[in-house]
């Protein structure tokens, strides 16, 4: 069985699990709703202030919501049996990372679309000011979160205090994602020009961590 084939299998299995049980997706959706609702109630009402803070708040909300999803990435018990089988396949284990991260990516994109909708409904955010840029930021952000999150999720398998540990491990590393994505989004919504440097740095970040995840997974899954 070839590497990409393994990745596809892992990806499909995770996705099927997500859609069937609706655990992960459902919980993330409700959580996002909660967070956005709280933000909307608490944040000052002036339209301009909202517009200024929305991109950042959006990404903070996404960050917390993604934690839920990422923690699930390597959690189920049946998982470990299936994982042990996969690990024996004579392929680069990095492909398992690709499959897992891919499934998380899909979930994250779903959550992003949902959260963006919530922001429109509750906070009157008009994405049509820069839809392409926002979508781009969303995609790059989702890829980054999926890559780093999947890697760190694997690093905390069987470790104590995982619910505490995962965010502690995650937040400093994904800070660039938050900064890049909210900056692009803010600039797009305000009609400002977005520096090319930003796009390059963001893409590079995603690449670097996708590669790190891929190459390092061989070592990570050695148990």
């Amino acid at each position: 069985m070839s590497g990409p084939r393994v990745a596809l299998e892992v990806f499909a299995k995770d996705l099927r699990l997500d859609l069937r049980s609706r655990d992960r997706l459902g919980h993330m959706a409700v959580f996002a709703l909660l967070v956005v609702a709280m933000i909307s109630i608490v944040v000052p009402a002036s339209k301009t202030e909202r517009l200024a803070w929305s991109p950042a708040l959006l990404w903070v909300a996404l960050l917390f919501t993604s934690l839920l999803g990422l923690a699930r990435s390597f959690q189920s018990e049946t998982e470990e049996g299936a994982l042990a089988l996969l690990v024996q396949a004579p392929v680069d284990r990095g492909w398992i990372f690709v499959g897992k991260a891919g499934a998380s990516l899909v979930a994250l994109i779903g959550v992003e679309l949902w959260t963006a909708t919530l922001f429109t409904v509750f906070l009157d955010v008009d994405w049509s000011a820069g839809p392409l840029a926002c979508a781009g930021a969303g995609l790059l952000g989702a890829v980054g979160l999926a890559a780093v999150g999947t890697l760190l999720s694997a690093l905390s398998i069987g470790v104590r205090f995982r619910e505490f540990l995962l965010p502690v491990l995650l937040f400093p590393l994904v800070l660039p994602i938050l900064v890049f994505a909210s900056r692009i989004t803010a600039d797009a919504l305000a009609g400002r020009e977005i520096s090319a440097q930003l796009w390059w740095a963001f893409s590079l970040y995603d690449w670097v961590f996708a590669l790190i995840g891929y190459f390092v997974f061989d070592y990570v899954l050695e148990d």
């Binding site: 780093v148 890697l151 760190l152 690093l155 905390s156 398998i157 069987g158 470790v159 104590r160 205090f161 505490f164 540990l165 502690v168 491990l169 937040f171 400093p172 590393l173 800070l175 660039p176 900064v179 890049f180 900056r183 930003l198 740095a201 590079l204 970040y205 670097v208 961590f209 790190i212 390092v216 070592y219 990570v220 050695e222 148990d223």
Partner: protein, 249 residues
């Protein structure tokens, strides 16, 4: 000339620590020379700070905190890099000694990083009126600290299992990978404010430059000596773990 000595010291300290890790118990004797060097440098540095460095016009004597704050930068990053090197070497060779080097680097590094975060505000409050500012350097140091702490938490929570060493090695690599991006991102986000303590390098008077340089030398060797001690401890503890496992087997 002092800066040449600083760069030389960094390379020498790195080489020594890598060599030391090769056989800690056998080679730890050399640490006394390093310790002696560090100890000898301390009074030199302090005397320079007290009598040689001029009192700066704008800030007055408060500015002298500069000479204990800046030298902590190199050990902060040095520890990080040492940790990453140890991690990579561990993943490739699976030899415990490199994992021990990684831990030693991380622990001593976080110590100096914490010092920066404490001494910085002690300087900032009287000098500029506020304890903290979200400028590039301070924030960068804080994020670095978070990464360090996350590393140590991971290690502590995963302790005992064989995977602990692998996990922390990987996280170390991920951490180092993230650093340049964090820097770039913070630079972008902070384009408004400027670090108040940024004297233009050209404008730094020679006496100040030399004093801070000697401070850097002092701290580099203190750092190296502390890492060596921590390394020995890690080596001893690893042995104890192996022995106790053999006993219960």
């Amino acid at each position: 000339m002092v800066s040449a000595a600083v760069m030389l010291s960094v390379v020498a300290a790195l080489a020594w620590l890598l060599w030391l890790a090769g056989d800690v118990t056998g080679r730890i004797g050399t640490a006394r020379w390093v310790g002696g060097l560090a100890l000898a440098l301390v009074p030199v540095w302090l005397l320079l700070v007290a009598y040689y460095a001029p009192i700066e016009v704008a800030q007055g004597i408060i500015q002298k905190i500069f000479y204990v704050h800046i030298p902590a930068i190199i050990p902060t990053y040095f520890g990080f890099i040492l940790s990453a090197i140890g991690g990579v070497l561990y993943l490739r060779t699976r030899e415990d000694r490199w994992d021990q080097l990684a831990v030693a680097g991380a622990e001593v590094g976080v110590l100096f990083c914490s010092l920066m975060l404490v001494v910085g505000p002690i300087w900032a409050k009287p000098a500029w009126g506020e304890w903290w500012a979200w400028d590039l350097r301070l924030t960068m140091t804080l994020i670095l600290w978070f990464i360090y702490v996350a590393y140590l938490f991971l290690r502590s929570f995963a302790f005992g299992s064989d995977t602990a060493k692998t996990y922390t090695a990987v996280y170390g690599i991920a951490g180092v990978g993230a650093i340049p991006f964090v820097y770039f991102a913070l630079d972008l986000a902070q384009s408004a404010t400027m670090h108040p303590t940024n004297p233009a390098r050209e404008g730094l008077p020679a006496e100040m430059g030399r004093t801070v340089g000697v401070g850097m030398l002092t701290f580099i060797w203190i750092f190296a000596w502390l890492v060596a001690q921590r390394l020995e401890l890690a080596s001893l503890q690893a042995r104890a773990l192996v022995a106790s496992r053999a006993e219960t087997a």
